[in-house]
């Protein structure tokens, strides 16, 4: 019995995500990621089902587990009631736990998710914060976003927001005590630990890759993981 498999079993999502897979391919047929990446959720289920230590380790280090968009279409269709999407989430969690995520191009992007989304959550209490979504990094947001960027407050104001204001409303400033509670929750429940692991392993990887690593988003490693694409992800 594989150690890694046992670790996966500790995740309730994994328990929910896989019973006995019959390899019918229903998940892959409906999977958006399988259409555009060399990716096959059926094989993921089959691999973890094998309980083979080496195979699971390779999986945790692979690009494969990072292709899923977590749309959960697979869960709708599986005739055995499995959910490869949930398996993926458990695998991703373990991959970060063990530091394997930095072994793949797509996995390394977790630093981006941690610093940007994670940063927004802890700083603002929101998963997204418009001031971080400039058209410099998100050019496809288009000229309309340029225009909003120039007029963040006024446009929000026009549409009934309470931008950075006290009390209720859109994009209000969430009270500091509420944010403190969230931060506390992160500490108690392992969120902070996850963040620290991502930072630690990323830093090591940056050194191994000989890329400059620093806080924030203006460093070589960060920019690399944000934009680098080796363009082999849809090759068989």
């Amino acid at each position: 019995m594989s150690q890694l498999y046992n670790k996966l079993l500790e995740d309730v999502r994994f328990q929910e995500g896989i019973k006995a897979c019959i390899n019918c391919g229903t998940c892959t047929a409906i999977c958006a990621a399988a259409e555009f990446y060399n990716y096959d959720p059926r094989i993921i289920a089959d691999t973890v089902q094998s309980r083979n230590e080496e195979k699971i380790e390779n999986l945790l280090k692979s690009e494969t587990i990072w292709y899923c968009g977590e749309c959960m279409s697979c869960k709708t269709r599986c005739p055995r009631g499995n959910a490869p999407g949930l398996i993926i989430m458990a695998l991703r969690a373990l991959s970060q736990e063990l530091g394997y995520f930095v072994e793949s191009e797509k996995g390394r992007q977790q630093l981006f998710m941690k610093r940007v989304v994670g940063g927004w959550i802890l700083t603002y209490g929101y998963c997204l914060y418009l001031e971080g979504i400039g058209t410099n990094m998100y050019a496809e947001q288009g000229p309309i976003w340029d225009w909003r960027q120039k007029n963040w407050g006024k446009v929000l104001d026009r549409l009934g927001a309470n931008y950075k204001g006290e009390g209720n409303g859109i994009l209000r400033k969430i009270p500091e005590e509420a944010l403190d509670e969230i931060r506390k929750i992160f500490e108690v429940t392992g969120g902070t630990a996850r963040f620290e692991k991502i930072e630690k392993f990323s830093k090591e990887k940056a050194e191994a890759m000989n890329l400059k690593f620093d806080d924030g988003i203006d460093n070589e490693y960060f920019q690399h993981i944000y934009s680098h694409n080796n363009n082999t992800h849809n090759i068989e």
Binding site: S73, L128, I144, K150, K154, G160, I170
Partner: protein
């Protein structure tokens, strides 16, 4: 296509939606991209329908994007969700209404997990106590904001100033609906109409005079995929998903796309611009894009609210052709004004896609 077949399925998925007294939870994506929609939702619910919708100043994100971006652990997410429940419980409410589909999905998933794994719920209660000292009750009724508009769609129709009808031809407008993946794909019985033929938006479209168009890739994800859009290197996947949908719906010549998810309307809107820039292709009539609306925007529209109060001006794809077709009056000069009527300048025009 036999509509009776669909109706039979819709009947199978009747959802219990509370009639009043809601604890409202805002959406991160929506606040940033479609602030007018949340404003409109509250306006309709409170002013048109006279419902009690409560918002707590201390509620936060559910961490959904962080959770589905896999940087926020399951326990953390569940405890944050538990905190929202605690705020609701403290405020004396039992009916939870999230504005966001992923939040809705997360709440559903959390409740389902706790149902199957009571020990997990106990653990989360412990976490919450430890971190915040709060206690909570599980919500009695969980509905997405679009479920509420669906529930009151007939009332809205009664008060409607406009119908989804081409004023020239008198024919119903062709509307394609796009349901957020996390609305019912995980738990079909939790969504109005189930996962395969969700009725939540279709019901609105029908009752407001439009015609629902079923196209082959109707159920396809818009491509957000959390990490897939946010990281630039992955965006090729993200845009490819929407692209696939546009290519599939194109032959049906839809007048608009209606959505109930925070991210989808933004992507379906912005990707039309990006695809036009990358490939020179547009999907609407006469070089325009296909307008993409949220259900609140649409509800506000039929109720005769000012399009610029709804926030249609922050769409990249122009909604004016749609407004014209229905015969909704608007003042083009006020489109880019601030609250006080002062012009904020005009956005640049895209090089391919036509805008008004």
């Amino acid at each position: 296509m036999k509509v009776e077949g669909k109706q039979a399925i819709w009947k199978e998925y009747q959802k219990d939606i509370a009639g009043d007294k809601y604890f409202y939870v805002r959406s991160c994506v929506r606040q940033n991209f479609f602030p007018g929609s949340e404003t409109t939702f509250l306006r309709i619910m409170r002013e048109e329908l006279g419902k009690d919708i409560y918002e707590h100043p201390c509620h936060t994100t559910c961490t959904g994007i962080g959770y589905h971006g896999d940087v926020v652990p399951l326990d953390t997410m569940m405890t944050v969700v538990a905190r929202q429940f605690a705020l609701m419980t403290e405020a004396g409410y039992q009916n939870l209404v999230p504005s966001c589909i992923t939040s809705f999905g997360i709440y559903t998933e959390v409740l389902d997990t706790w149902h199957h794994f009571p020990e997990v719920e106990a653990k989360v209660r412990e976490y919450l106590r430890k971190a915040t000292g709060r206690e909570f009750k599980i919500p009695q009724n969980l509905a997405h904001a679009s479920d509420l508009i669906y529930k009151f769609r007939k009332e809205i129709a009664q008060n409607a100033k406009f119908k989804l009808v081409d004023k020239e031809t008198g024919k119903p407008l062709k509307v394609v609906d796009h349901i957020g993946c996390h609305y019912s794909k995980m738990f079909p019985e939790k969504g109005v109409g189930g996962a395969e033929y969700p009725y939540v938006l279709a019901g609105m479209i029908e009752d407001w005079g439009g015609e629902v168009i079923d196209y082959p890739e109707r159920r396809h994800c818009c491509g957000f995929g959390f990490r897939q859009y946010l990281v630039q290197a992955n965006r090729g996947y993200s845009v490819a998903c929407s692209h696939k949908k546009f290519e599939s719906m194109e032959p049906y010549k839809p007048d608009m796309i209606l959505t109930n998810c925070p991210g989808c309307p933004m992507f379906l809107d912005k990707w039309q611009y990006a695809i036009a820039e990358m490939e020179g292709k547009t999907y609407g009539k006469d070089g325009y894009g296909i307008p993409v609306l949220t259900y609140e925007e649409l509800a506000g529209m039929v109720l005769g609210y000012d399009p610029w109060d709804l926030g249609l001006q922050v769409h990249q794809v122009s909604c004016e052709p749609l407004l014209d077709r229905i015969g909704i009056k608007y003042d083009p000069l006020k489109k880019y004004n601030d609250k006080n009527g002062v012009s904020l300048g005009v956005p640049e025009k895209p090089s391919v896609m036509k805008v008004s």
